[in-house]
């Protein structure tokens, strides 16, 4: 089973619409990371969240980590075609005794 779950699996939105992607863990996260990947390419670092209740923004993207540090959301305001890609959440598993894990990804398409 996936240790990090993401929802939705895929998303198609009209340009200009807002959207939210969720990342959930059954255990407390020690550092939650969001990445964007263009199809078949490397990952681009977006944001890192470490404290419960933390919220960060960059341009039109806002990420939040809940107080229990088990769920994170990524919100895009006024989406643009340039936002299209695969969004991945990742987390340090050191609490589990292993290393970094990723969620399965959310595939975002933005229609012009």
């Amino acid at each position: 089973s996936q240790e990090l779950e993401q929802s939705p699996q895929s998303l198609i939105v009209q340009e200009g619409k807002n959207l939210t992607i969720n990342c959930t863990s059954s255990k407390t996260l020690y550092g939650l990371y969001w990445y964007k990947q263009k199809y078949g390419e490397g990952l681009i670092f977006l944001m890192m969240l470490q404290k419960g209740g933390e919220e960060k923004s960059h341009e039109k993207i806002t990420a939040k980590l809940d107080e229990k540090k088990q769920q994170s959301s990524l919100h895009i305001t006024a989406s643009q075609p340039s936002h299209a890609g695969i969004y991945l959440c990742g987390a340090d598993k050191k609490n589990y005794g292993q290393n970094f894990v990723f969620g399965p990804g959310t595939r975002l398409s933005v229609l012009p």
């Binding site: 990371y33 078949g40 390419e41 490397g42 990952l43 670092f45 292993q98 970094f100 990723f102």
Partner: protein, 114 residues
């Protein structure tokens, strides 16, 4: 500054062969991690090296091995290739242990095993 670089970009191998993938981290980064990404899935952690020592190993068979050199570059070796090893192999570098520091990824090496 140059980002993380990987070579080769693409590679086609036959079952049973061996392959070596290379990664150069961002200058000043001492940690390198390797991931395997199969089409449609998130990256799966293979190895992490920090200061030339293995600091983490994912659930991969012993056919997979890696090392980190004094200049912090790294190689991933895969022996006795199987069809299922076909994937995008990603290298990431960070200032310290992944999870404590953000990782920066290279463009990946696309490996096809026939």
């Amino acid at each position: 500054d140059a980002g993380v670089t990987q070579s080769p970009t693409h590679l086609i191998k036959t079952r049973g062969q061996q392959v070596t993938l290379r990664c150069s981290p961002i200058s000043g980064h001492k940690s390198v991690s390797w991931y395997q990404q199969v089409l449609g899935q998130g990256p799966q952690f293979i190895f992490q090296y920090y200061e030339k020592e293995e600091r983490g190993r994912g659930n991969f068979p012993d056919r997979f091995s890696a090392r980190q050199f004094p200049n912090y570059s790294s190689e991933l070796n895969v022996n006795a290739l199987l069809l299922g090893d076909s994937a995008l192999y990603l290298c990431a570098s960070s200032q310290g242990l992944a999870g404590l520091y953000e990782q920066y990824f290279g463009p990946g090496t696309r490996l096809t095993v026939t």
